[in-house]
Amino acid sequence: MTEEEKLTRFNSKIDKEEKIEPKDWMPDAYRKTMIRQLSQHAHSEVIGMQPEGNWVLRAPSLRAKKILLAKIQDEGGHGLYLYSATETLGIDRDEMIQQLHEGKAKYSNIFNYPALTWADIGAIGWLVDGAAIVNQISLQRTSYGPYSRGMIRICKEESFHQRQGYEIMVTMMNGTPEQKQMAQDAMNRWWWPSLMMFGPPDNDSSHTKQSMRWKIKRESNDVLRQRFIDKTVDQAHFIGLTVPDKDLKFNKSTGHWDIGKINWDEFHEVINGNGPCNKQRLAHHIKVHNEGRWVREAAMAFAENETRTKKELVTH
């Protein structure tokens, strides 16, 4: 088969909504785009463990502690599924971690904001996970098989993440005056960054067109953002939270909520490394990685030790 025929065959599979699998022929650009997006998604899940990690040891009840532990664990697990999906494209996890540490690979900007109070844990679960879920439901139909399968598993597991976040906000809004104030404060700090999670507006997003052609990305940034806004504004009003946007208005003719201007300058600042926690998140990841090196080596040495086969492996 000539390159031409392979490309035509590849494009026809995409058009027929057939999945591309690891051993299929694919254009280099498709593989590169896939590796970039998939590894960034994996890094985001793992870095995303840090802000909530701030509060797991200070969770205010045993129930809340178990829920947050289980949620952060899921994020680690989701990162692992996505690293595993990325590895089917021919890059191994060592290399992906090195790219992250050298600043060559990115992670989702939202985790460069600090989790300052317990109400932030509610806001992160409800708004940040809520935005991620809107994006990930759409990605279940992505054209690359392993990514699609990963998204299906992640969406199933993620469904409790948003509900537990909203439940915290409900509890806070039914609590003491300090709890109400803490919840509104968290809403004020997380609302706009969550909208930015969907990426720049369609007319300004370099990757979107090609990704849509290859059905890696199925819907545009603005479409997904609007879906999230329409779902979330009513949820906020329902429990007495104010959306921090004076221009917020329900548009009867379109049936959508219109919002004020997003501060894209702040978005670009944070993307370029000037957010409150950019340095801290990466430094933490590098430190933990380096501290684990001797453990990883010990386990490998044990496995490679030829005498291993003679010694009977006791389990307990």
Binding site: I20, E21, R149, F160, R163, Y166, V170, D234, F238, I239
Partner: protein, 97 residues
């Protein structure tokens, strides 16, 4: 050359019937090497014309959890109900959650 095929190693066969779905174990067969295992698997297991991708693994390379571990391995997950959305009370009337 009638080498009894049971002297050949045992291979476990996994088939991905269509793109998009995971490989599933379909059975095992004897073959002298991977190439022939794939060929044989094609004949034995894709007779009904399913089988877009075949994985073959020598049985000795598969390690399994043992049946008597089921209690300590898998039952602890049962009581972690907070991992399921239904565990969370959301005020009725709230949509999309």
């Amino acid at each position: 050359m009638e080498k009894k095929d049971t002297q050949w190693p045992l291979w476990e066969i996994f088939i991905q019937a269509n793109p998009g779905i995971p490989h599933k174990h379909v059975g095992s067969l004897h073959a002298p090497d991977a190439e022939l295992a794939i060929q044989n698997a094609r004949d034995v297991y894709t007779r009904r014309n399913e089988g877009i991708s075949i994985w073959v693994v020598e049985a000795k390379n598969i390690r399994a959890s043992s049946p008597e571990d089921i209690g300590s391995f898998f039952e602890p997950a049962n009581d972690k109900v907070y991992r399921h959305p239904t565990f969370y009370k959301v005020p009725d009337g709230v949509k999309y959650l």
